[in-house]
Symmetry: C2
Subunit: 339 residues, 2 copies
C-alpha cells in the first residue's frame, strides 16, 4: 500500500504538506498542490482510515444502523434512505441486524463495543431498555431512533396512535361495528413500542365511535405474513366473526387476505381488510392501507445523526422529534359490511 510518505518523497515535500494539499487546506501553493495531487493519483494513494482516525480524534466516519429484521420491507427501505444520505456525506453505514436474537441484541446494545467502532448509532424500531439507554448514552455519544421515541434522543417516526385511529376511522365510516385488530403483542425478545401504540389507537378509535371493546378480537400476528395467516384463520373460524380486520402492518394484512381466500371468505364483500405501510406488494393485492414515507424517515435519521456529529459537543441540542405524516390509500379490500 502506498502511504503518505511515498507521495511526499515523490514530490520532495514533507508529509505535512501532502496532508494539507490533499485535504484542500489553505497555506499550500497552487503549484505544490497540483504536483501532490498528480503524484497521489499516479501512485494510487488513499489515506489509511485508521491513521486518519487515530490522528484526528477518533472519528470513524461510520454510522451504525441497528435493525431487528433486515429483510422486512420497512427496515430495508429505512436502510436505503439512510445509506444514501450517509454516502453523500462520505460516511459508511455499518449494518447491525438483530434478527430476533436476544444474544445478538445483547452483544450490540449491551456493550460498549458499538460506541467506539462508530461515530453515531441509528436504532430502528427497537426500544432500548433503561440499562441499554444508559450504556449507549455516554457523553459525546450520538444516538437517533427511528419508529419510536426515547426522551433525550432525536427521532423520526409516524404518529402510531394517530395512524391506527385513521385506519379505524375509515372502517367505521364504512359502517363496520365489529372490527378485529391483528398486531404484535408478544415482543419476540425485542421491545417494540409500535405495536403498543397502534393497539392503543385501535382502542381509542373504538371508544370514540362508541363501539364495544371485545378483547378476544385483538390477536397477535407477530408482524409477519405467516402470523397474519394464522390470525386470519383464528378470526374467521369464529361464529361471531368480525366484518373487518385492521392489521397493524401490510405484511400481516396480506396474510389475513390469504387466510380469507383459503376459507372462501370474499374480500371486501364478506370482510374488509386494512393495513399500515403501503408495502411495495400492497397494490398488487389491492390492499387498502395507510401509507408512510419510509425512505424519507431513513434519510432524516441519518441527517440528524450527522448534524449532531458536526455540532459542538456542548451545543445545547434539544432533541428533535420529527413526525412524518401518513396518508390513507383506498384500494379494493375495504367496503361497507354486507349484512
Amino acid at each position: 500500500m502506498t502511504s503518505i510518505d511515498d507521495v511526499a518523497r515523490e514530490c520532495g515535500v514533507s508529509t505535512a504538506t501532502v496532508s494539507r494539499a490533499l485535504r484542500g487546506l489553505p497555506r499550500v501553493s497552487e503549484d505544490t498542490r497540483a504536483r501532490v495531487l498528480e503524484a497521489a493519483v499516479r501512485l494510487g494513494y488513499t489515506p489509511s482510515p485508521h491513521a486518519v482516525g487515530l490522528a484526528s480524534g477518533g472519528r470513524t466516519r461510520t454510522v451504525a444502523v441497528v435493525v431487528p429484521f433486515v429483510t422486512r420491507w420497512y427496515f430495508s427501505t429505512i436502510l436505503l434512505g439512510a445509506e444514501r444520505e450517509l454516502r453523500r456525506r462520505d460516511h459508511d453505514l455499518a449494518l447491525y441486524n438483530l434478527g430476533g436474537d436476544p444474544e445478538a441484541r445483547d452483544r450490540v446494545l449491551g456493550t460498549e463495543l458499538l460506541t467506539k467502532r462508530v461515530d453515531a448509532i441509528v436504532i430502528v424500531g427497537i426500544e432500548p431498555t433503561a440499562t441499554e439507554q444508559r450504556r449507549l448514552a455516554r457523553p459525546g455519544r450520538t444516538v437517533v431512533t427511528v419508529g419510536l421515541r426515547v426522551p433525550h434522543w432525536p427521532s423520526v417516526s409516524i404518529d402510531d396512535v394517530e395512524v391506527a385511529e385513521k385506519a379505524m376511522a375509515h372502517l367505521v365510516a364504512l359502517g363496520h361495528r365489529r372490527i378485529a385488530y391483528v398486531g404484535g403483542l408478544k415482543d419476540e425478545g425485542l421491545d417494540f413500542t409500535t405495536p403498543r401504540l397502534r393497539l392503543r389507537g385501535y382502542r381509542q378509535a373504538l371508544a370514540a365511535a362508541g363501539l364495544p371493546h371485545d378483547p378476544t378480537l385483538e390477536v397477535d400476528g407477530g408482524f409477519t405474513s405467516d402470523g397474519g395467516i394464522e390470525s386470519g384463520h383464528a378470526l374467521l373460524s369464529r361464529p361471531d366473526r368480525p366484518t373487518a380486520v385492521f392489521a397493524a402492518s401490510d405484511e400481516m394484512a396480506i396474510g389475513v387476505l390469504h387466510a380469507a381466500k383459503e376459507r372462501g371468505v370474499r374480500v371486501p364483500e364478506d370482510l374488509s381488510v386494512i393495513g399500515i405501510d403501503d408495502h411495495e406488494m400492497s397494490r398488487f393485492m389491492g390492499l387498502t392501507t395507510l401509507r408512510q414515507p419510509v425512505v424519507q424517515q431513513g434519510q432524516i435519521a441519518a441527517r440528524q445523526a450527522l448534524h449532531l456529529l458536526s455540532s459542538e459537543p456542548d451545543d445545547e441540542h434539544v432533541p428533535e422529534h420529527v413526525t412524518v405524516s401518513t396518508e390513507l390509500i383506498v384500494r379494493e379490500t375495504t367496503a361497507p359490511p354486507s349484512s
Copy 2:
C-alpha cells in the same frame, strides 16, 4: 474515553501487559490477567479500533457488501446471511447500495476508496467491468462475488442457465409451445450477467424442445414488479398471445399475474406463469417458481471472504466457485394450456 493507559495505571502494570491480558495471549500470570480484566470491565474499557488497526497491520475487521438495490428481497436476504456470519466472526458489515446510480457505482467501484476502508469486498449481482476488476484486484485485496462469476475471484451462485432450463422444462412438460420470456435486457447502468444467462437458458430450452424462437416473445421487465406489469400487458394484448410466461424473477412474475388479472385473463386456465426465487410473497400469490437458497448464499460468501483473509497471502488460493441448487415449487399458476 478510557484508554489502555488508564487500565494500566489502575493495575500498576504496563500497557503491553494489559494488551496481552485482554487478548488472551500467553505469558501473563493468571493473577495479573484477572486484575486487568476486572479493571477493564469496571472502567468500561474498549480498545480503539483505529489504534488496533494501525498497530496491527491495518485490518479494519469490516467487510463491504455492495448491492445494487437493498430493498429487493433477494439482496436484503443476502445481507441477512452475510451479516450473521460476519457478526459471528466479529466483523462489521459496511453496506454499499448502488441504487441504480452510475455515479454511486463509480464512486464505489471506480476508486481505491473501498480497498482501504475494508478488509474484503463482497459484490452482489453486479458484474465489474475489466477496469473495475483491475482496480479492485490489487494484491492482497479480497473480493468475492455473489450471483455471478468472475474468473479469479471466489463466488457463490445458482446455475442461471440451468434454472431457466428447469423452469422451461416444467412449462414444456405441461404442453406449452408458445412461451414468452420476461427478463431484464437493458442494464440500468449496472451490469448483470444473470439476465443474460437466464435468457440463454430460455433459448436453449426452446431449441431442446424443438420449439420455434420468436424474438418478439422476449420482453424486458427490468426485474421489477412494475416492469412485470408492463410486460404482461404488452404480451397479453397481442392477438397471438403466449399460453405461458417464464419470468426471470418472482417480482416480475407477480407483475405479470397482476396484468393478467387486470385484463381478465385467467391464471392458470388462460395463462401459466412461472418465476424464479421463491420470494416471500410468492406463496400468497400461489406462484409456481424455482426456489433458490438466498440466506445461505450470503453466508457462504461471507465465509469465503473471511477464509481468504485468514489464510496466508501467498497460499495458492484456487478461487472456489460454489454453486447452490434450485428446486421447483409447483403451486397454482401453472397448468396445461387449455386450447
